[in-house]
Amino acid sequence: MEKLRHTVLKNFKSLHRTRLKIFDGDHKALTAARLKINDEYKKNKAVKDEEAIKAMVKFSEEIEQELKTQVIQAREVKPGVFEARITEDTVKLDNVMFDENAELPKRRRKNQQCCQDKKDK
């Protein structure tokens, strides 16, 4: 149980460190994120079940990973022109080269069924 407590506190600290790194300079976002993290941790302070705690610890690790890879900051330097700030952790995907002959999926009308449903029937 002690070890679990340590893990929880360690995750709490690393989550705050990630928050400081990701929202660096943006005071509004920093305080909002800090309050959110603190609230969520305090809400579940009374939970005693080990399995539940382990699941929440895993959840916090996933959140940290999401924050590090998916969240970027952008600042407006001229009206309508934004400058983005990305880190080495940010997920960078390959560009999809423009293909004239590419087939775009047709937009579905509201009541149309998916082809899979039609197949089952």
Partner: protein, 178 residues
């Protein structure tokens, strides 16, 4: 030769003799207009291998904006081969005495919104006197790490439960005796 004299006569009316340097400097007013013609004239002149070049008058000087010093190979060598050695002077951090550390620790704690500044002293226990919980304690330790610029491992952090413990820990780490 004929072409050379042609060029010379064409340009001589436009060249004014500079008092500081020997070579004639082209008058700027006509330079732009003549630039196109100049190119063709120059190629013709090169073809004929004019005596102007042999005299040491360099065509490129005609567009100089002011007195141009001749670049010696030594200058180039200094610039390219022997790059200036930048000397870096690293200073040490801000002065640290026990009093300074005490006041900094107390300041950080006073700025923490969950701490009541009236109850705060060096002897006040975070959990028992100030009513913080372990999560707040982690935040306090993080604030101390940011203030003093070094990481405090979790094992050490959980033993720091009073401001005076923190002051003692930092003094040990920074080797400050008084």
């Amino acid at each position: 030769m004929a072409a050379a004299s042609l060029i010379r006569s064409a340009f001589s009316g436009l060249l004014r003799k500079s008092t500081t340097i020997k070579t004639p400097v082209a008058c700027r007013l006509f330079t732009v207009a003549l630039q196109q013609k100049y190119h063709t004239v120059k190629t013709i002149a090169n073809l004929y291998n004019t005596s102007d070049l042999q005299n040491g008058v360099s065509r490129s000087r005609q567009y100089a904006t002011g007195p141009v010093r001749k670049v010696t190979p030594q200058d180039i060598a200094d610039r390219v081969i022997k790059k200036p050695q930048f000397v870096r002077n690293y200073s040490h951090g801000p002065p640290l005495t026990i009093d300074i550390i005490k006041s900094r620790v107390l300041l950080v704690l006073q700025l923490f919104d969950k701490v009541n500044p009236e109850k705060l002293s060096l002897e006040s226990h975070f959990i028992q006197d100030l009513g913080l919980d372990s999560l707040d304690h982690v935040e306090v330790i993080m604030a101390m790490e940011d203030e003093f610029g070094f990481e405090i491992p979790d094992g050490d952090a959980e033993r720091l439960l009073k401001p005076k413990d923190i002051v003692q820990y930092i003094c040990d780490k920074e080797d400050i005796f008084e």
